[in-house]
């Protein structure tokens, strides 16, 4: 009895240390369990801690610069975009900082093994870093239900199954369109849009004239390439925000450079977190390849492996200004797009892949995707902010809420959150039926496209 109490007290003490101290300890233990040795495990654990400290420094800069600019925008133009898109690096950091992450990393890994063993999925997700996408919905459920751990774990596993099945379904596209055989993309923030995108493509196929329009991507990439770079997006957006917020010229230019700095520095800090997780990923890979030798499986990877597709890049580049305009003109939207404008190439992957690279249709589909993203961000902004505060990612007083295009804006998460509350259950159920209906309606479309692809 005393022993159990002592263990519980010890676990609570570690969890209360905060992410920058807690995660290194937990990751060192994970590394040792997966046989990575003390030196490697120790180094990777401490690297994760350093990544968190660095990320907090950049978040301080983000809070000061963007928070104040958003307030100025409200005053000068009356545009009330009080949810700031702080970007996926913050989403990942928040997720790994929740007490759930330490529990869910091994649970998801074991759950994946069980699903593979029973042939329920072919996807073997070895990308431990991107587990944050799978854990995030659980963390949202945890804070939406006053810290109900069991419900959070169940919600995570349900979402995980859906994402794995979506990854299995879309794997032939990864092989035939993107040229990567044996790989699937269980990347929740991207693949969740796939059923909607295939539905749109199916409808577009039936619209006369519209279904004949095909646009080439080459010129767009050549002429707009620089505008897709994080540095340029940050600088231009900072100057634009400063000008619209009626800042002085000096303050406007400073804001531009500060926002460019945030865009460039944030992923570098996250790079340290990723580097720290590498030994854990290596251990997991070694374990899986030993346990499932010779089985036909898809290796689940980050969608970064396909974003270089030229049609995808062209649509993403065009979507940068369109997304900013949409944020202003969409009624009821409250999110100011910022940090995740740099990851639009991820958001639009299935909008473009569903059309086999037709930039025109890809753009239309991406605009529809972004409308959904803005409304989900607006709806879930308060909960996402609660999650941020719960793990001590503090934002300035009286300042804004947080969200992100690549963070809390995906459909499966939104449906889950609606279903767990009695007040919104009916909305969730209707959304679930529509989403499942779209998936069922388009379930054979990828096979048909693959057939056409090989004939061409």
């Amino acid at each position: 009895m005393y022993f159990l109490q002592a263990v519980k007290a010890g676990v609570n003490w570690i969890l209360d240390l905060g992410a920058a101290t807690m995660l290194p300890i937990i990751m060192i233990i994970f590394g040792l369990i997966l046989g990575q040795g003390f030196k490697k495990s120790f180094k990777s654990g401490i690297t994760i801690g350093i990544g968190f400290v660095g990320l907090n420094l950049v978040i301080g800069l983000l809070s000061e610069s963007v928070g104040e600019a958003a307030q100025a925008l409200i005053k000068s133009l009356g545009i009330n975009l009080n949810i700031i898109d702080v970007g996926w690096p913050v989403g990942a950091a928040i997720t790994f900082a929740t007490p759930l992450a330490a529990i869910l990393i091994p649970i998801i890994f074991i759950f994946n093994m069980i699903l593979l063993y029973f042939n329920f999925t072919k996807t073997m997700d070895v990308d431990i870093w991107n587990y944050w996408h799978l854990i995030f919905p659980g963390a949202m459920v945890y804070y939406a239900t006053n810290n109900n751990m069991i419900l959070a774990i169940i919600a995570t596993l349900i979402n995980t199954v859906v994402i794995f099945k979506l990854a299995d379904w879309t794997a032939p596209v990864v092989e035939n369109y993107f040229g990567l055989p044996g790989i699937s993309l269980p990347h929740g923030e991207t693949v969740n849009f796939a059923p909607i995108m295939y539905t749109l493509n199916k409808i577009e196929d039936k619209i006369p004239f519209f279904n004949k329009i095909v646009i080439n991507e080459k010129t767009i990439n050549e002429k707009m390439g620089i505008f897709g770079e994080p540095l340029t997006i940050g600088l231009v957006l900072g100057i634009l925000l400063g000008a619209l917020g009626r800042y002085s010229l000096a303050k406007t230019l400073t804001l531009g450079v500060q926002m460019a700095a945030v865009m460039v520095l944030m992923p570098k800090m996250v790079g340290l977190l990723m580097e720290g997780l590498m030994p854990i990923s290596e251990g997991a890979r070694n374990f899986i390849s030993k346990k499932f030798p010779g089985r036909e499986v898809y290796i689940g990877l980050d969608a970064a492996v396909v974003i270089g597709n030229p049609s995808n890049m062209a649509v993403a580049l065009l979507m940068v200004p369109i997304t900013i305009i949409l944020s202003v003109i969409l009624p009821y939207n409250k999110m100011l797009p910022f940090a995740d404008l740099a990851v639009l190439p991820f958001t639009v992957i299935w909008a473009v892949a569903a059309t086999k690279g037709n930039v025109f249709r890809g753009l239309i589909n991406s605009i529809i995707t972004m409308c959904g993203v803005f409304y989900i961000a607006t709806d879930l902004g308060a909960l996402t902010t609660t999650l941020g505060h719960a793990v001590n990612f503090a934002f300035p007083k009286g300042a804004t809420m947080i969200s992100g295009i690549d963070m809390s804006c995906h459909v499966t998460l939104w449906i889950l959150l609606k279903l767990i509350s009695s007040k919104t259950f009916i909305i969730g159920l209707i959304a679930l039926i529509i989403y499942a209906g779209m998936w069922i309606w388009t379930r054979n479309d990828i096979k048909k496209q693959y057939k056409q692809y090989s004939e061409n």
């Binding site: 070895v126 369109y177 990567l180 044996g182 290596e282 990877l301 970064a304 492996v305 974003i307 270089g308």
Partner: protein, 93 residues
């Protein structure tokens, strides 16, 4: 003429660099002298590059008559050594 390995990818720059560095280090360990270069599979002019062997991580639009080795192992990080051995096989022919 120096051996040239061209890693042609449609992935992010970071992942291309990982594959290039891994192959470079492996060749160095095996004392094989080779230039390793990463290119975008959608834009590269393979005729001008004149590679000894191409490592492909992306769609196969390659028209030149050069050996092509499938490089997906560098994104899955499983079986990278075996792929490097295949590459070296072409470099030492």
């Amino acid at each position: 003429m120096k051996n040239k390995v061209v890693v042609a990818t449609g992935t992010s720059h970071h992942k291309t660099e990982f594959a290039v560095d891994f192959i470079k280090d492996y060749c160095k360990k095996r004392k094989i002298d080779a230039e390793v270069k990463g290119v975008n599979v959608y834009e590269a002019d393979f005729n001008a590059l004149d590679p000894t062997v191409i490592v492909l991580i992306g769609p196969n639009n390659i028209k030149v008559n050069r050996p092509v080795v499938l490089g997906t192992a560098f994104v899955t990080k499983i079986g990278m050594e075996e792929v490097c051995e295949k590459i070296i096989g072409y470099l030492t022919k």
